[in-house]
Amino acid sequence: MAAPIGQPRVRLPSNAKAGDIIEIRTLISHPMETGQRRDSSGNLVPRDIIKTFIATFDGQEVFRMDLHPAISANPYIAFAFKAEKSGTFEFTWINDAGTRATSRSELKVG
């Protein structure tokens, strides 16, 4: 059974000047079970990871990450973004089972 995907947390500056390069930092709670760990009775715990992260800005994909079991539990993902205009980010995390978690953030440029 897949572990629940926790509440996503996203941090980015609410205001930016046009041309600024900002950093977007995201965190989501998830065990990122590698599939190599054994439980107390010696059975392999099945793999269960967040395997895809997608960031879009006004519907346009701007960044994507494919994750493997070597990414730590509660994946932290940060990336640069060049602020040109105000708009809406949508961030999506997808686990092995295809379940999604999404989060939206506004960026104001002016």
Binding site: I21, F63, M65, D66, A70, I71, S72, F81
Partner: protein, 154 residues
């Protein structure tokens, strides 16, 4: 605060100088042989292509007490314009049970080719990054991390 900034800048300068010396003098350059599993993982993603050393900065702690969560930043020198940008960055851990760590798909909208995450390393090893540029060229960089307690659940 000022002192701290100055110090970190100096450290960065020395670090850069050290890296240059390491590339020219080290018996183990970035092209040094990788584990067969890592070679295979790289080939699977980019095919049989020539990798050029350079352009990539891997920021990792030199020593990690806990292999379960090691901060990693990969930065690639690129103007990140529509005509000239980094399309993808692939990260591998040379001596993990499976070498794949992450693949990042980048776009010019980012303005700067820089990504960060936290990774697991099972033992002391090199972390390798391969960058695919929009003109089809490929760059490689690597950085060793000494791991005190491995982080692969074993």
């Amino acid at each position: 605060m000022d002192g701290k900034v100055a110090l970190s800048r100096r450290t960065a300068l020395f670090g850069t100088a050290g890296a240059v010396i390491a590339i020219t003098l080290s018996p183990k350059p970035a092209s040094a042989s990788l584990q067969p599993a890592t070679e295979a993982a790289i080939k699977k993603l980019i095919g049989e292509k020539t990798l050029t050393e350079g352009r990539i900065t891997l920021r990792l702690p030199p020593i990690a007490e806990n292999g379960n969560t090691i901060p990693l930043t990969v930065a690639v020198e690129s103007p990140m314009t529509a005509a000239d940008h980094v399309k993808a960055v692939h990260v591998f851990a040379d001596r993990n049970p499976t070498p794949d760590v992450a693949s990042f798909t980048l776009t010019p909208a980012m303005g700067r080719a820089e990504v960060s995450t936290r990774i697991r390393l099972g033992q002391t090893q090199d972390v390798v990054a391969v960058a695919e540029m929009s003109d089809g060229s490929l760059f490689v960089g690597r950085q060793e991390v000494k791991v005190t307690i491995g982080g692969c659940g074993g």
